[in-house]
């Protein structure tokens, strides 16, 4: 498989339907005996996300928030401020990189790295199209849930290493929050896994495809599927520290939370990780409940909308736009709502989301067993 890699490279574009064709082809691509394809597989989502983070994430957030607040948002840096984020990153690169004298040097430096790795590792198992997945694990969903927990280590390292009281508060709050919200989030995703009967992300997607488009999505699969969907969405907000659960970086309380002391590039990395994980949870929710790369359009008799809008390239488009939609909802929430208090956050997690997650778990199980 190795010698003919180049020729294989172009085929998947045409052959389309065979699962993971691109990524398998890439994985088999060796140059001078080096597994270059694996590197590319790892890099493509990262590059894509980095681009997205730059152009859509920050810029979009600024613009969306501005429009919601009757403002214009970035205007002067490039046409309509389109280069704003690039300027920000370039500037952050130039800034002096301060490591506070009293900080724990090792933890301080390593924290943002762990954070970044934690949030981007999950991209490996996200199926971006029927023909592309970084690592087609049979426990993909489990991996995605599990790997997010690494972020906690990064946040704790950053907050503790800063040797700043606000950072410490932010870190401790964040750890408590993320660890707690893992539970309802995991249970809610488990409902999805139960409906699918597999943890393989790609298979979860395939199970949701069909000629009726959105009607095959797990969200409409059972009468109570909206409940785990909602629970996971709320829990995912907390997991990525978005409002109204942004208490770890609550500006009015903790200055800037666990990254109060970070400057320059380290700060940019934290920022990037934050926007990266935002997309990650949005992608997971759209894969598990909204069909991932499946087209939501149904075949209407002779007008085979669903067939026309499915395929590797369309798939990538669908999953990205679904992800972006959820990011938009996250921003929308952020610029509307006040922030919860620490104990209310825990109340919401343990006394509202977790019981409801269990209920939805049981109901889904019953539904799956006695499905009419």
């Amino acid at each position: 498989m190795s010698t003919t890699a180049l020729s294989q490279f172009s085929i998947p574009l045409l052959m389309g339907n065979s699962l993971n064709a691109w990524s398998d082809a890439l994985a088999g691509f060796y140059l001078f005996g080096l597994p270059l394809g694996l590197v590319i597989i790892a890099a493509i989502p990262l590059v894509f996300i980095a681009l997205y983070s730059l152009t859509y994430g920050v810029y979009g957030e600024r613009k969306i928030s501005a429009f919601m607040q009757d403002r214009l948002g970035p205007m002067e840096v490039g046409k309509w401020g389109i280069l704003q984020t690039i300027a920000d990153i370039l500037k952050l690169l130039q800034k002096e990189d301060i490591v506070p004298a009293s900080a724990d040097k090792f933890l301080f430096v390593v924290g943002p790295g762990i954070l970044f790795v934690g949030s981007f590792l999950a991209f490996a198992v996200l199926p971006f199209s029927p023909a592309f997945i970084g690592a087609s694990l049979n426990v993909g969903l489990f991996f995605a849930i599990g790997i997010v927990a690494i972020e906690v280590v990064g946040i704790l390292a950053a907050g503790w290493g800063s040797n700043n009281k606000w950072s410490l508060y932010g870190a401790v709050r964040s750890v408590a929050q993320i660890v707690s919200y893992e539970i309802p989030a995991a249970i809610a995703l488990l409902c999805g896994a139960m409906m699918a009967g597999t943890l393989d992300m790609q298979k979860i997607n395939i199970l949701q495809s069909g000629s009726y488009g959105f009607a095959h999505f797990f969200l409409f699969h059972s009468p109570i599927a909206w409940l785990p969907f909602l629970i996971y969405f709320i829990a995912s907000l907390a997991e990525v520290n978005r409002a109204p659960f942004d208490i770890p970086e609550a500006e009015s309380e903790l200055v800037a939370g666990y990254f109060t002391e970070y400057t320059g590039m380290k700060f940019a990395v934290i920022f990037l990780a934050e926007y990266g994980s935002m997309f990650m949870v949005s992608a997971i929710i759209s894969i598990v409940f909204l069909g991932g790369w499946n087209s939501p359009l149904p075949n209407l008799g002779g007008v085979a909308l669903n067939d026309w809008t499915n395929g590797p390239v369309w798939g990538a488009l669908w999953i990205i736009s679904k992800g972006f939609f959820f990011i938009f909802v996250q921003m929308w929430l952020r610029w509307t709502l006040p922030r919860l208090r620490v104990d209310q956050l825990m109340y919401l997690c343990w006394k509202v989301l977790t019981p409801f997650a269990f209920i939805s778990f049981v109901l889904t199980a019953i539904w799956e067993v006695y499905r009419p």
Partner: protein, 189 residues
């Protein structure tokens, strides 16, 4: 700017154009520290708010000095506060800029004569790049002052000091008001 200062004295094309790009990045994303002291802070907030919207220029306030490039000293600095201002300034990463907003921080303002507890000008403790007069300055004047800082950054180069940049700017002296007037007439016509 540390190491490079000593080595580079003559500027070739490459350095200059790199400079331009880097300067463009810096001037396009000036993050000020949300550092309100007194009356002027309210005008600063008004400038950040919808009607004037500093975010148009990529300026949006950060509450941590570590992530900010610009300190807007908005309001009266008192003796008790002076040391904190210095400390906050020192916490900011290089390259950093200071904009003194309003009469009080320019020179003590209305309190210069009898205000025993008022610091008579924030430039006594930290270097100030631009002074914005007014009591309090209108949001327009604050934006004008920020644009002056941007002009200053545009003039900076690796290897030359900020004072030299100022001199260079003085040679090239362009009155922002003239630009504003010109732009306005263009838009009007």
């Amino acid at each position: 700017m540390g190491l490079l200062d000593a080595g580079i004295t003559k500027h070739n094309m490459l350095v200059t154009s790199v400079d331009n790009v880097l300067n463009w990045a810096r001037l396009s994303s000036l993050w000020p520290m949300g550092f309100g002291l007194a009356c002027c802070a309210i005008e600063m907030m008004a400038t950040n708010a919808s009607n004037y919207d500093l975010e148009r220029f990529g300026i949006f306030p950060r509450s941590s000095p570590r992530q900010s490039d610009l300190m807007i000293v908005a309001g009266t600095v008192t003796m008790k506060m002076a040391e904190r201002v210095v400390r906050l300034y020192e916490q900011m990463p290089e390259p950093r800029y200071v904009l003194s907003m309003g009469s009080c921080s320019n020179c003590g303002g209305p309190y210069w004569e009898h205000g025993y507890h008022v610091l008579k000008g924030v430039d006594r403790i930290i270097p100030v790049d631009v002074y914005v007069p007014g009591c309090p300055p209108r949001p327009e004047s604050l934006i004008g002052g920020l644009m002056k800082i941007q002009e200053l950054i545009r003039m900076e180069q690796i290897g030359i000091s900020r004072a030299d940049a100022l001199k260079k700017l003085a040679e090239k002296s362009v009155d922002p008001r003239i630009i504003i007037e010109r732009e306005r007439t263009v838009v009007g016509a």
